[in-house]
Amino acid sequence: MRAIKKYTLFILVLLSVVHFSYGSSEPAEPSTSSEKKEEKFNASEMIMHHIGDSHEWHFATIGETHLTLPLLVIIYNKDTKGLDVFCSSDFRNESGHSSLKEGTAGNYTIHHDKIHSKDENAHIYDLSITKNVASLLISFLLLLSIFLYISSRYKKNPLSAPKGIQSLFEVIIQYIIEEVAKPSLGEKKYKKYLPYLLTVFFFIWFNNMLGLMPGGANLTGNIAVTMMLAVTTFIITTLSANRHYWKHIFWTPGVPLPLRIIILPIEVIGIFTKPFALMIRLFANITAGHIIILSFIGLIFIFNSLGMAPLTMAFGLFMSFMELFVAILQAYIFTLLSAMYIGSAIEAHEHVEHDAHH
């Protein structure tokens, strides 16, 4: 234990360098038994494969063996109203190898990781445990274990000084309370919305970090996930809004009447663009960061020379540090903006002197 404390910095630097195993985990074409074609390196395909969702979890490729974890496929067939559950390694292509690019399994075909039914008229809903869903479950368990441990420590000995993990998270939670929740939500009402803000912050931060690790899944770069986060903020804002919020949108006080008619559609659209911007900001930042790092590593393969390696690795290292910073910054921005939107919805009416009332 003491050794870990002494070498923490070294281990952190080592981890940040080790995640260049991204380059080694590009998918090799399933080798057909007859000939081995020299496939030209397709950079965009490798990048899309790494940042997209998939029905299997591909960790690394050592030599010819793929270290993958085939995940569960759950399909709800609307016509027969039944669930089909099977393992994704059941998809086999013509030569009998398990493949998720072109394959068949029972009544379903898979083409470039998208499942279709053989019967054209069947409606199927793909509810499978894909890579992102599995990563979501893992990060959920991680968050739950850490925070339940911390809260139990606070409950059991509330008067003693915090130690270890507790002290790390206490600093961060205090910062969010003082700098994000209290200024935006007010001293009296911030406690009601604090659980949501803390959850959103740590959820986004942990998932960003997990996505940067080797073999990690790009969860916050999935626009469905960020859309759900933004929709949750939107729901909380709308449900807890008081009269003054709606009054300010639909009938802005203090401005002359013609201007109010013009402001009205702008404000109505503004209700929807604010969560939309939250969604796109998080998605684009994280995905763009992944694409940049993968492109740098892919440069080595495009030029097919090892001499490029030191330069690209230096750029890649710099971009990786930037990505670590962006991970926590984007979580902070999302939380701050959510707090500001909720705060503007629940704030009490400060009586500003309106000239129109006189």
Binding site: E179, I280, R281, F283, A284, N285, A288, Q330, I333, L336
Partner: protein, 78 residues
């Protein structure tokens, strides 16, 4: 033949768009950083607060630039 031309022009548009987005982000964040440094030079004791505000403003500007990156990615993938 015309299909190839249309595809080529679309990809060209996507590339140019992403470049202009980078330009916009560079100008925006550069100005924010410049005024932040100037403000710190005026009042060194407020450096912490100014740094925080600068980072938040930079994240907003980058968000706007990334909107257009998303559009370019959509063009490329479509």
């Amino acid at each position: 033949m015309l299909q190839l031309l249309a595809e080529g022009l679309a990809l060209l548009g996507a590339g140019v768009g992403a470049g202009i987005a980078a330009l916009g982000a560079g100008v925006g964040v550069g100005r924010i950083g410049g005024s932040a440094v100037e403000a710190i030079a005026r009042q060194p004791q407020e450096a912490g607060k100014i740094q925080t505000v600068m980072l938040i403003a930079a994240a907003f500007v980058e968000g706007v630039a990334l909107f257009s990156v998303v559009v370019c990615l959509l063009i490329y993938a479509g």
